[in-house]
Each structure stands twice: as C-alpha cells, then as structure tokens.
C-alpha cells in the first residue's frame, strides 16, 4: 500500500493521481460527459479536457506547500469503482477533505468515531449538540441499536433526531425511533431517511431508578452521488 498512500484525494469517491504511471486501462475509456459533474466543481480543479481521457490540470492547493520546482501538474481522476479502494472518510462527513488523505483498502475502512464507548444513561435526554453527526451527504442511515444492559425495570426508547444546526436544540425533529427495549441484551436494526443536516440520538427512560447502556452504530448511504458509504457510531 505504500505507493497508494502517495495518491492525492479530493473527494471521497475518487483518487487524483499525480502524474500517470500505471494507470488502469479503463480510465481512458471513461466518457467525460458522464463523469460526475460535481467532481469538477472542486476548487482544486482548474480545467478539464473536454475530449479524451480524464486528464486534468491541478493548481497547487494553497494550504499545501508546493513541491519544490513544480508548477501546475497533470493528474488523472480515478473513480472509486475503478480503483476499488476505500478512502478514509472525513471525520465530519458533511465537510470536504481539506488536503491529502490516506487511502485504505476496503477491508481496513475506518469507522467514523465521535465517541468510542457505549453510552450509559440514567435519565431521559438527548446527545449533546456538539456530538451530533453531520449527515449532509447521507440519504439513508441504517442503524443498529444494541442495548447492552438495563437496570431494574428500566425501559428505554432510542430515537434519532435531525436538525439543520447545532447551535441550539430548536428546530430539531424526530427522524424515527426504535421500538422500546425492556430487556438486555437486545439488538434492533432500522433505516432512517429524509434526514436534515445533522443527527443525534435521543433516549427516553422509564421505570424505577432506570439506567441503560446502549451502543448505536450503522451505515450511511448516499443515493445521488458515488460517495462511498460510511460507517457511523452515534454513541
């Protein structure tokens, strides 16, 4: 993988290969007309040849120090479906990667972590706004809720809330809920769609002196572009 790590990435679903040694043959067969137009909007791309292979000219990205003695250089965009690798997603999937990103093989794709550990709750409440996930690029979340422990007669209902901002709790609405869980361990799965920009979990606890520990993770998928799916942990 050493050579792969030299590759530059400017979108989650494509590699930008500086220079052109060993390019896969299918690249020259790509039709520029069908290439994702949105890719061309990236500020790193200055021009693209309307005909022929997808050779593009990249200006040096201002935040990056230019390699000594080089000016604009040639590069080729390789869509994910051709390079067959997965790109490490940005910590915040709604934001664009700012610079050089590492490339990892499919089986080593990292998870998106906001908090690493299962969450214990002793009262009803929602995830802190600063921990809300940006899901701007995600059309569908399929989440699995694993309730690891419940104390006493506790019953927990975990819902997903979605909102357009993370400055206040105003305007946050429900994106759906898992069924109530009254025994542990229990695992549930369900999809969530029609999401606004951010999501966070909300837990409702009932019962005497309730406490519950749960873990919420899943896959975020995009329909409209060729972004790679990302794994998510909401707890």
């Amino acid at each position: 993988m050493t050579s792969m790590r030299r590759l530059l990435v400017f979108r989650e679903d494509a590699l930008v290969v500086p220079e052109t040694p060993g390019l896969p043959d299918p690249v020259v067969a790509l039709d520029p007309e069908t290439f994702e137009a949105e890719l061309l909007l990236d500020r790193a791309v200055q021009s693209i040849e309307p005909e022929g292979p997808l050779d593009i000219t990249l200006p040096l990205d201002p935040p990056r120090p230019p390699p000594p003695g080089t000016g604009p250089f040639r590069a080729v965009v390789v869509p994910q479906r051709l390079h067959g690798l997965e790109v490490r997603p940005p910590l915040n999937p709604g934001a664009r990667p700012a610079g050089v990103e590492g490339v990892v093989p499919r089986d080593d794709r990292p998870e998106l972590l906001l908090t690493v550990f299962p969450t214990k709750v002793t009262a009803s409440g929602a995830q802190a706004l600063e921990l809300a996930q940006d899901v701007l690029d995600i059309d569908e979340l399929v989440l699995t809720l694993r309730v690891l422990s419940l104390s006493g007669s506790a019953v927990i209902t975990v819902a997903l809330e979605t909102g357009m901002q993370i400055e206040s709790t105003k305007g946050w609405v429900s994106a759906g809920a898992f069924s109530a869980v009254s025994s542990a361990p229990t695992a549930l799965v369900r999809p969530f769609r029609n999401l606004l920009r951010y999501v966070r979990w909300s837990a409702t606890l009932s019962g005497a002196s309730p406490a519950a520990t749960f873990f919420l993770s899943g896959v975020g998928r995009t329909w409209s572009t060729e972004f790679a799916p990302v794994e998510m942990r909401l707890t």
């Binding site: 479906r81 699995t144 694993r146 809920a177 069924s179 999809p191 060729e226 799916p229």
Partner: protein, 348 residues
C-alpha cells in the same frame, strides 16, 4: 455504484447437511447497497428455509440480526425476495434441519424507492413479502416493518391465513378463510392519549362469499374480548363498509355497496372531531361527531374481538397484501404518496 450490481451470496451451489450459517470468513460486504433483491434456487431438499442476517461486524458471531427470510422452498424450486435494511455485512443462514443444495444470488441496489416509513409517525407496516414466517403454507407470524415492533402472530395452526405467492401484481398476500383465520398482536408501545389521530390503510380483496357479508380488515383495541373499542375497518351485512372509531356507531363513517372480489386500498383517518373513509383515495363518507378516544394496546387483521368467546366475529374471507397505520392524520400530499406507492407496487 449507482447502478444495481450483481451480488453472489453463493458463487456456486452450496450443499448443506442441516441448519447452519455461512462462515464468517465468507460474509459479504453490503455497505454499498440499500437493498438486495435475491433469488434462492433450491436444487435438492424439502422445505428448505433460509434467512439473511446482517451485522456491523464480520469478526464475531454475536450481533447478527435477521433481515428477513425466504418462504420454505422445495426442490426444484426458486423464491425471490427483497431484503432491507442492511447493515455493513450480510450472510445467509439455513434454518431447516435436513440436507439441501441451493444457490443464492441477486442484485444489490443503492437506492430503495418510497417506503411507508418515509412518512413520519408510521406505527405499523405489515407487507406480505416482508417479515413473514410460513409453516406448512400458512402464516404463523407477520413482522411489523415500521421499526416499532408491532408484530402479529397466530399460535393455532388452523387459524393461520394461507400464504399466496402471486396474489396481486405478482406480489404475495395473506388469504383468510372466512372461518377463523386471523393474526393478532400486542402493541409494543401503547398508542396512548385521549386524542388518537390515526390514518389506516388496508390493501385488500374481500371475497363476495365472505360469511354473512361480514369481514374485518383491521382492528385496534384496548380489549380484544369486546367490540367497538378502537378504530376498525370492516364490512357488515354485505352492503356497507365501515370506518368505526372508538364507539358503537355514532362516530362512524360508512358507505354502501363496497366492492368485492377485486383489489382496493381501503383507508380512513380519524381525529376527535372528524373522520373520513376512502376507497382508492376517493372519499366515500365522513362523520363529524365528537368521540372520546383512549389508549390502544393490541391490533388484529382478519377478525374482530380475537379474544371473545366463539363464534368468531367478522372473519374475513379474502386477502390482505398490506396494512399501514400512522399515528396522525396524514396530509393529502402524504396520502397521495402512499397511494402512488401502492399503485406502483400492485398495479391497480
């Protein structure tokens, strides 16, 4: 990846000697797909039952959840089924105990079309191709796909509706015998409150020979031993269709000459001060009498008062392909979405 892709859960026919799961080292990364349309081909074996499991991890036997299961299939035979939602990994599991040879493959798609759960407050979604457990050709349980766990089941084998593979538009349905077939379940979470705004859809075909012209499509109740406790969609006397909510009749909306022997979408919505009933999204009747509502704890398809002393009340002779319940009155645009989905799916 935006185009559907072939997915081979078995690359060649697999021979099993009994129940078991696909080895962890062979599990499939299905992260790119929202839905799998799979075909199970059975080359050898009787009543071969197979289900799909999904998980976020491929290195542990724990936390694998059932996505759905195929109808038991006997060789030579084939079954097609849609599987969703999917976590990152998927694997098959053979549930039947006898030897079998099968092939499992299909198409993975990135996008799933409109689902009833796309509209907020979907509390029950029962579809005849999803979450069905079939025993000897009859449905023993029907899993609610709303995500809220409002499942239904029938423990008595003689009271289970039959599974009909190609009932309407190539899609399956449950066939009720007009004697005592029904499925019932306790609501996982009580529908609570003194106001119970509801919208209920039933995609059904009522047989003209339904006994005494009485047939229940769906009932919500807080007491399955007595009647008129919650919203009900039913036919009575063979002449009128009723949308009755929370009382004995003063608050009901009904219309005459309901259709028989053909597929339709029966739906009604209820608010404290008003309720309306529709046939194929055409309003048929309304009622503006105030009715007092109460908590609801159970629901049933195919009969009323499932726990009442015999004889069974309003046993349906006919078929139900889908039942959807929302815990609010849907806006007209939302109702139109549901109808467009039904028309697209069932072709009527």
């Amino acid at each position: 990846m935006s185009q559907p892709q072939p997915v081979l859960l078995t690359e060649a026919p697999v021979r099993v000697t009994g129940a078991g799961k696909e080895a962890l080292r062979l599990v499939h990364d299905v992260a790119p797909y929202s839905v799998l349309d799979l075909e199970l081909q059975v080359f050898d074996g009787t009543n071969v039952e197979l289900r799909l499991l999904t998980s976020m991890s491929n290195d542990s036997e724990e936390d694998w959840l059932e996505v759905d299961r195929f109808i038991p299939t006997t060789a030579p035979g084939a079954e097609r089924k849609t599987f969703f939602p999917l976590l990152r990994y998927a694997r098959w599991e053979v549930l039947s105990a006898s030897a079998a040879t099968f092939l499992l493959h299909g198409i993975g798609s990135r996008r799933l079309g409109f689902l009833p759960t796309d509209i907020d407050n979907c509390a029950v979604w029962l579809r005849a191709d999803l979450g069905i457990s079939v025993v000897s050709g009859a449905v023993s349980s029907w899993m609610d796909k709303s995500g809220l766990g409002n499942h239904m089941s029938q423990a008595t084998s003689s009271k289970r509706p039959a599974y009909v593979a190609n009932a309407v538009g190539g899609q399956p349905a449950l066939s009720f015998d007009g004697v005592d077939d029904h499925l019932t379940g306790t609501l996982a979470t009580v529908f609570a409150g003194t106001t119970q705004d509801l919208t209920i859809f039933s995609v059904a075909n009522i047989d003209s020979t339904t006994p005494s012209g009485r047939a229940a499509l769906y009932e919500l109740t807080d007491d399955p031993t007595i009647t008129n406790r919650g919203p009900m969609l039913f036919i009575s006397g063979g002449t009128s269709f009723f949308w009755r909510c929370f009382d004995t009749g003063a608050g009901q909306a009904s219309y005459a000459s309901p259709p028989f022997d053909s597929w339709h979408v029966h739906h009604g919505w209820h608010q404290t001060t008003e309720r309306r009933v529709y046939l194929d999204n055409v309003e048929k009747a309304s009622n503006t009498t105030d009715v007092s509502s109460h908590d609801l704890t159970a629901h049933t398809v195919g009969i009323l008062q499932p726990s009442a002393a015999p004889p069974p009340y309003y046993p349906l002779k006919g078929m139900i392909a889908e039942t959807i319940v929302y815990q609010r009155k849907l806006a007209d645009a939302e109702t139109a979405l549901v109808h467009a989905y039904v028309k697209s799916r069932y072709g009527f």
